[in-house]
Structures are given as structure tokens and as C-alpha cells.
Symmetry: C2
Subunit: 285 residues, 2 copies
């Protein structure tokens, strides 16, 4: 149905009668406190749990007595398959097992719907014409979690850009960075380095593009290994951000023209029309 023109509105149905059931579960960035009740319930109600070992270990006691399939490739290992090929095999496995009538939970870091496994599962389903019931369980993604750790940088419009060039040509990414910088979006960067080659040219180029439109003093927050034991937060500036440790698991938040630093927090005020001052809210315009 790709490319189909919709004729004025499809009202979506509720649960359908189909073989098996597949939960696409976002388990948050790594801290078990960032799991939702819904994610817990989906995992607890599944027969089979599929996911990377660190994701599955995160949910601990919830998987006791259940069938578990580790996808077998951790963040630190590389196989002969590329990342996306590995993910295709997990999506296929999850669909096949649900097809047999099982209730399956496929775990994604963060939110399965934000650069996660959800889109790929629908792509595989569409091409294979399998009919199973799929429920996407939303999760806390790096943008929610990093913003909270840093303070309140996302109080205005923001753009989220992945710097990985594995699936998106760099020219498109560059164009998006340019557009977001020019129109004063707060910018959240995912995947500043790619997994396989640990290249850092992307973040260097991104910094150069953003610097054409924002001064070097623009506040920037980096959160490394978010939700994990070695989580580290750094406040820096656009001019000096490359002096800091930026790794595979760093989330970067670039302030807009009104973002400021308060103590150890990055704060974007809510809009341009007013300010809190002398104990009251004043409108500028």
C-alpha cells in the first residue's frame, strides 16, 4: 500500500482477530526507573522476549520463567551482518514466533518508535504479508531523558537529527541541520558516531554547519551513556563541544537563541513573548 492515496480519512479500528501478538516495547534509555507500567505489563504478559542482552537484563525479574532469545549481538560486538541486517533478522524472528500463536515482546532501547525497531517490523510485515497483531508500547527516548538530566532545554520547538549516514545520505542530514539551525530550533542530535567504524567526521561537520548560524557561545549539553551507571553530563558551548568526549551513546542538545544556563542546568524559556521578572510574568509584545 506504499504510496497509496488516502481518500479522506481512515478511522482506525481497535484490536483485530489475528494470529499471535507482537509488542514492540521501548524500555527507556537504560535506567529501570524509566520503564512505563505498560512496558512492564507487555513484558510480563509475553511468552517470548527478544532483545539485546543488555536490554533484557534491564528488565530483570520480569522475564523469570519466560522463553528468552538474545539477539546475540551487543553494542560492543560486530558480526558479519551490518546493523540493519541484524535488526531485520530479529524483526523476522519476532514475526515468525508471533505467527505461531505466541505473544512476543521485542525490546528496543529508548522508544521503539524513534529510530528503533518499530518501523522495520512494519516494513517486514508489509512485504511478507503476514497478519499479526502489533502493539507499539511507547518509551522514554534519549530526547526526553537527556532533556530532563540537563534541565529544561526543550521548552520550545525542536528538531531531532540522527548523524548516522548508514541509512540516510549525508547531504540530507546536512540540509536538515542547516534548516534547523537557521530557523532557531533547539536541536537534539542522536548517533553522533556510528557503531561500526567509530567515525567522528559527522559530528565535526555538524558542528561546522551549526556554527554558521549560531554563535560559539551557544549553550550545548552532552549526556554520555544516559540511564547507565557511568552516565555523565557536560555543559559546554557550540564552540568548544568537540573538546569533550562524544561517543556512540552520547545525546547532544544544542540550545537556540534564547537558551541560557542556570547553575548546572540548560534552560530554554517558553517562547519569545514574555519573561518572569520581579515576581511577575511580563509580556513583551
Amino acid at each position: 500500500m506504499r504510496g497509496n492515496e488516502l481518500d479522506g480519512g481512515v478511522y482506525l479500528s481497535g484490536a483485530r482477530e489475528q494470529n499471535g501478538r507482537l509488542f514492540l516495547v521501548g524500555v527507556g534509555p537504560g535506567d529501570p526507573r524509566e520503564l512505563t507500567s505498560w512496558a512492564r505489563a507487555a513484558i510480563a504478559g509475553s511468552d517470548l522476549i527478544i532483545g539485546l542482552k543488555p536490554r533484557i537484563e534491564l528488565v530483570g525479574g520480569l522475564i523469570e520463567g519466560k522463553e528468552v532469545k538474545f539477539t546475540g549481538i551487543s553494542e560492543d560486538e560486530t558480526g558479519s551482518l551490518t546493523g540493519i541486517e541484524q535488526e531485520v533478522t530479529w524483526a523476522e524472528l519476532a514475526i515468525q514466533e508471533a505467527r505461531k500463536g505466541k505473544t512476543v515482546a521485542l525490546l528496543s532501547a529508548g522508544d521503539a518508535g524513534i529510530y528503533g525497531m518499530a518501523g522495520l517490523v512494519f516494513e517486514v510485515l508489509q512485504k511478507s504479508e503476514e497478519k499479526i497483531e502489533v502493539e507499539v508500547v511507547p518509551g522514554i527516548t534519549a530526547l526526553n531523558a537527556a532533556a530532563a538530566r540537563l534541565g529544561a532545554p526543550l521548552m520550545q520547538d525542536f528538531a531531532v537529527v540522527s548523524l548516522s549516514d548508514l541509512l540516510t545520505p549525508w547531504e540530507i542530514t546536512a540540509k536538515r541541520l542547516e534548516a534547523a539551525a537557521r530557523s532557531d530550533f533547539v536541536i537534539v542530535l542522536y548517533n553522533p558516531r556510528t557503531q561500526h567504524e567509530r567515525r567522528c567526521w559527522q559530528i565535526t561537520k555538524a558542528q561546522k554547519i551549526l556554527s554558521k548560524h549560531r554563535p560559539p557561545s551557544t549553550p550545548v549539553g552532552l549526556v554520555n551513556n544516559i540511564g547507565r551507571e557511568d552516565e555523565k553530563k557536560i555543559l559546554t558551548t557550540l564552540g568548544r563541544m568537540l573538546e569533550h568526549d562524544i561517543g556512540l551513546l552520547t545525546t547532544i542538545v544544542i540550545g537556540n537563541s534564547s537558551t541560557f544556563v542556570y547553575g548546572d542546568r540548560l534552560v530554554t524559556p517558553r517562547g519569545y513573548h514574555g519573561e518572569y521578572s520581579n515576581g511577575k510574568w511580563s509580556r513583551y509584545l
Copy 2:
């Protein structure tokens, strides 16, 4: 400290010794299953809960035996204060009560850090020079929740734009919509109508701007009253979206050039470089 230049990186500290404690808690869009364990723990561990009545009712049993201050103005009521002035009084109240040594939970719909209460609290704190410990507890926001209900539209870079012109001049919003549309971001729209006047010119203008850059057949998902009992999802197109019910509590997701419809789902494939076909992943480039 607004506008301060950072000198190359502030390494953020952990908990500090201060008077009182304030949790800024995102409670999700409305469905209690979308609360995180962290939000539950923050509420359970607080002496005083402050929030809109519907938010507080959402957390039900967690507040038994606690002091509760309803902010007294529900979504359907208007007072003599504007929305932002009301929010300032709640922020001040929460800070004052924490200042007395209490542990206070201030509840926001969705994520307190995304168009929520978090930024305002830091603005008030900065100007009043109060020192209290503030912890932002991230939550499932409309973009996570709406994307999950609709399928998997946020698998590529996306821009989040609020159409409210109460705090942001429309020219800035228009410029951002233009930039996001031109550079093939998936676009999430918050606040398509404003609370006080129930105006709809914003969404009409937004649709016109987006239509300059995307064909009328572009898939669009609307989710009304997300997380509530009367939640309703609609799949439509950019050309026909205005024929549908768009209210104060509608979240809108506009697909990019590669977003497609699969059954009753809106799916953006992961990037431009490959496709799942005939049981395997093929790279285009």
C-alpha cells in the same frame, strides 16, 4: 546567568545540599499505563502534590494521605489570568512549599520538559534566587504516544512545532514550518488550536505552508484526546486533514517523502538507503 559564556565545560554535580526538594513530574498523556516507575516513586515520595485536577486524578492511589493542591483551573475553565500567568503562580507555589522543607511533586501532562512546566520553574528560580533541589522526571509526551498509536512515523529525523502563538510570534513558527517541510523532516504539531479563543487559523496556515513543499497525498495522522477514554485516531492526508476534527488536544503527525500507509498504520522507513524486499534487506546505494 542568562547569556553567560561557558568556558569550555561545566561538569555537572550530583545531588546538592539545599532546602526542600521539587520533583517536576511528567505523568504522560493521560493513560496511567504510560506513567514511569520513576514518576510513581517521585509522587509516592512527596509530601505535597500540585497539579491540575485531571492530572492528579490520573495518579489515583499514589496520593492517598498526602497533601494535595489542585491548581484549580481545568482545561475547560478560564480564569482572569492567562494560561502562562496561572502556570507562574503554580511554579511559585511549588517553589515556596519546597523552600519550607517539603518534598513537592509538581505534575505536568506528558513530559514536564516538553512545552511543560520545567522551563518556567527554572526561570522563576533564577529570578527569585531561591535555592532548592529540583529533579526533572521525564515522561511519555504526545510525540512518543501519538507515534506509537499511529504505527511508526518517527523512524527518521523529525521536527516538533507548537502552533500556539501565545508565546512565540507566528512569523517564527511559520519560518520553522517552512524549514522543516523543505528539508523533509517528519513533522509533529502540538497545540493546533489555542486554549482561550479556540482559534483555528494556525492549523489552516500551517497546512498551507506545508502544502507548498509536500503533495496533497502526504500521509497524516491525527490523534485526538490521546491517553483518554475518548482517544480517536484518524489517518488522512495533507490535502484533506482540515476536514477532520482538530481540537485543543489533537496531536498531528505529517509524514515525509518516504512515509507510507500499511493497513491502519503510518510508517516511515528507516532512512533512504535500503528496503526490505523478497525476504531480505537490500541497499540502494
